[in-house]
């Protein structure tokens, strides 16, 4: 009936529509040349006398210098935290603690544009994400845990929750301010004091957060921030004065920390790597599943521990889904993180870029088929084209190791049982995604997937009320929700 015809346009179509650059104004954030350590409510010069440079990964320009904290500096920070804990913070009325947290949350909201720009400058993530994801969530975490501060006894009926003391917290570079919030908000709500070490490549928003603590008139020493590299983290882990260690980062370092803390009376939570399966069944809403797949792996350049880096597609829809996915990849806009239209920003560091490049080369060498859309990359800075591998075998390195970059491995399955088997066949277990219109199948899958978070018909969705954490080599302990309080409490 309806004949198939390709209509010839009588009015020529636009061949190309270039979006003019739409950069977010950079001058909202005042970056000083140098930042010291934040210890006891003051900015101090490092006793180590050492400094390191923080660069912008999208331009390789040097943004500022930060102090490289040595053993003595870490010791001072822990003492300051101990002092603040003993001299009042722990005994403060819980509702008063809550007021500080609410205040911090509001200041984060007020300064969110500045913080978002700082995050994108220092870390390379697109402003669209820092503005719409990182910042609202960071504020939400403080608001949420502020609410718990005076309700701990209701969270644990018939028990008497008490703070632990000094919490040492080491955070990664992928969501600098958000991870800071995940760590600091519950620690303070429970009455602990904090020594936080931000990642070497992304200390800027933590240093701005120090200023927010002062603005909120948080008592000196309750939050201390020591910048530095792995050695600084090592000093903090080995310090005898800490009661709790919370680490988010690589599985490799997580194992080192666990060894170091064996036999010591230090509570530990680890949130480590992942190799999440994103499982698409043939009855899923395909166009929306494609969006979810893209959001699952190309969000934040794939620098996400719960990224959906393994796509498991039911064989009957493999071809149409791949076609859609490839088409969608070609519309991703890679480039200047400060441009409001950028979808994929810069790779966080040279070291990370090298690691991604090496793993992608191994994928090609092992026989997987690589697809990359046509994509112009800026000349300076660290960049990687959004990449997709097909013909991936379960035994390939790209199907097993965490790449932590914008690289997706596509595998197929035929039955739900096979999907579960393949999804669980990894040393990790942080997250998983299930795409199907069938509610009963979602529940069936959730019961069988060994992953801390399972998303249904969505991916990479976070909320302060929802606990987050891993199985197996993805770590232990939960952050977020009521569950996120327990790691910062002891019970009398």
């Amino acid at each position: 009936m309806a004949q198939v015809e390709k209509r010839t346009a009588s009015v020529p179509a636009l061949l190309e529509w270039e979006y003019a650059p739409a950069p977010e104004a950079r001058d909202i954030v005042q970056i000083r040349e140098r930042y010291g350590l934040f210890v006891g409510g003051e900015e101090v010069e490092p006793r180590s006398g050492e400094w390191f440079e923080s660069i912008s990964p999208s331009t390789e320009e040097i943004l500022f210098e930060a102090a490289l904290a040595g053993a003595e500096d870490v010791d001072l920070a822990v003492s300051a935290a101990r002092g603040a804990f003993d001299n009042g913070w722990a005994k403060l009325a819980p509702a008063e603690r809550a007021k500080y947290l609410y205040r911090i949350a509001r200041i984060i909201q007020e300064r969110s544009r500045e913080l978002a720009v700082a995050e994108s400058l220092d870390g390379g993530k697109p402003i669209r994400e820092s503005r719409d994801v990182d910042l609202p969530l960071a504020a939400a975490h403080f608001f949420y845990y502020a609410g718990w501060a005076d309700k701990l006894e209701y969270a644990y009926p018939n028990r008497t929750p008490r703070p632990l003391g000094v919490a040492a917290q080491i955070i990664p570079w992928n969501f600098p301010l958000l991870m800071l919030s995940w760590k600091i908000a519950p620690a303070l709500a429970c009455g602990n004091t904090v020594v936080l070490k931000p990642a070497e490549t992304t200390p800027l928003t933590a240093l701005l957060f120090a200023d927010i603590c002062r603005q909120a008139e948080l008592p000196p020493g309750v939050v201390n921030i020591v910048t530095g590299d792995g050695t600084t983290g090592g000093h903090l882990v080995r310090h005898g004065g800490i009661d709790k260690l919370a680490f988010t980062g690589s599985t490799e370092v997580g194992k080192l920390i666990m060894r170091e803390l064996a036999g010591r009376d230090v509570r530990l939570t680890l949130e480590l790597g992942g190799k999440a399966a994103n499982i698409v069944f043939d009855d899923a809403a395909l166009d929306q599943a494609v969006e979810g797949i893209v959001n699952g792996i190309y969000f934040n350049q794939g620098h996400v521990c719960c990224a959906g880096s393994r796509l498991l597609v039911q064989e009957s829809i493999y071809e149409p889904l791949l076609e859609k996915l490839k088409r969608r990849l070609s519309t991703l806009r890679v480039g200047d993180p400060l441009d409001k239209n950028t979808d994929v920003g810069a790779i966080n560091s040279k070291a990370q870029l090298d690691r991604i490049t090496e793993l992608v080369a191994s994928g090609e060498a092992e026989g997987a088929e690589m697809y990359q859309p046509d994509c112009r990359l800026p000349e300076r800075g660290y960049w990687f084209v959004p990449t997709l591998f097909t013909n991936v075998a379960q035994s390939h390195r790209i199907a097993q190791e965490e790449i932590f970059g914008p690289v997706l491995s596509v595998l197929t399955f035929r039955t739900p049982e096979e999907a579960v088997e393949k999804a669980n066949n990894t040393p990790y277990g942080l997250s998983a995604g299930v795409w199907t219109e069938k509610g009963s199948r979602i529940l069936w899958m959730v019961e069988r997937l060994r992953a801390g978070v399972v998303w249904a018909n969505t991916f990479n969705r976070f909320d302060p009320t929802s606990p987050f954490g891993g199985y197996k080599e993805s770590g232990f302990g939960r952050e977020g929700g009521r569950h996120g309080l327990a790691p910062y409490l002891r019970f009398e």
């Binding site: 009936m1 198939v4 009015v11 179509a13 003019a20 809403a285 929306q288 969505t458």
Partner: protein, 312 residues
């Protein structure tokens, strides 16, 4: 007279070597994607380009009981020369009106390149026996309409009588002859995106040249997510069969900013091939002046008051 082929199980496409799946739509993710696209920041030259295109894609519309030949004449003049002070502003794609005014508009627009689009098939309700709808369609085409905007029988669709809806579109399409057929789904009455997807496929299968969101008489009229949903259907049909179907969001698009958001969504969903009035239209009455205002602002750097733009 054309007859529709028997439809097994409802409404598979009769065309193409590989039938597109009807598929389903996830409302949350669809709306999220539309919201992301709406946040694109389009500036300077790319904005001017978009505004110019928005005018060329516009079906300048008046569909009121109080329409008079005078009002229609004014609208035609506006459509041919939207900005009397700036001759670089292009003409609109078509003037969209009730059958009563087709002849008048045809005369006024002769030789201008602006098309005459007439609504038909008991617009906006569609509650008329099929043969009368077909007769109405024939009549408007005879009166000179270049394009026909029909409404689907939502009552039949919602009660599951898909073949009734399909047959009717097939017959109206035949009555159109050379005139282009736009099929109005009235998405505001369909309730779910799944229904919108289903109705879009049905209309395309029955021969629609365009699928159109709304009559403008029902709220909500066009929204970005619903239009995105229809674009995704059009994309699927194109990739399955090679057939290019047009899309027309209508109703509720009043600001340039919205128009640019639709164009961004079109560009990133269907690509540059669809960026032509042959495949995309805006059904709007008050959008034009806002676009003109924005164009003048982009060109001169200053906003001018409403008094500098004609009210028609």
């Amino acid at each position: 007279m054309a007859t529709a082929p028997a439809l097994i199980g409802g409404f598979e496409l009769p065309a193409g070597p590989r039938l597109p799946r009807v598929g389903s739509v996830d409302a949350v993710a669809l709306e999220e994607r539309a919201a992301t696209l709406a946040k694109r920041s389009i500036k300077r030259e790319s904005k001017l380009q978009a505004l110019d295109l928005a005018i060329r894609m516009m079906d300048l519309t008046t569909l009121e009981g109080q329409d008079t030949p005078g009002k229609v004449a004014a609208l035609c003049a506006k459509g041919m020369r939207p900005d009397p002070l700036d001759s670089t502003v292009p003409r609109v794609a078509a003037i969209c009106l009730y059958p009563n005014h087709v002849e008048g508009a045809k005369e006024r627009l002769a030789g201008s390149g602006v098309k005459v689009a007439s609504v038909a098939t008991a617009f906006p309700s569609g509650q008329l026996p099929t043969k009368l709808k077909v007769a109405e369609t024939r009549a408007v085409v005879e009166l000179g309409a270049d394009e026909v905007d029909m409404v689907i029988d939502r009552g039949a669709f919602l009660s599951g009588r898909y073949s009734k809806v399909y047959d009717e579109i097939v017959q109206v399409k035949e009555a159109c002859g050379d005139a282009h057929l736009k099929v109005i789904l009235e998405t505001g009455e369909l309730g779910t995106y799944d229904n919108v997807r289903r109705a879009s496929l049905l209309a395309i299968a029955a021969g629609a040249d365009f699928i159109k969101t709304s009559t403008g008489k029902v709220s909500p009229a066009a929204t970005l997510p619903v239009t995105l949903c229809m674009m995704e259907v059009v994309r699927d049909v194109y990739h399955e069969t090679g057939r290019m179907v047009g899309i027309k969001p209508a109703g509720g698009i009043r600001a340039s900013k919205q128009a640019v958001q639709y164009l961004v969504t079109l560009y990133e969903t269907l690509g540059p091939e669809w960026m032509t009035p042959d495949l995309f239209r805006f059904g709007a009455s008050s959008l034009l002046n806002d676009v003109l205002m924005q164009i003048r602002k982009e060109k001169t750097g200053r906003y001018q008051s409403g008094d500098y733009f004609t009210i028609d």
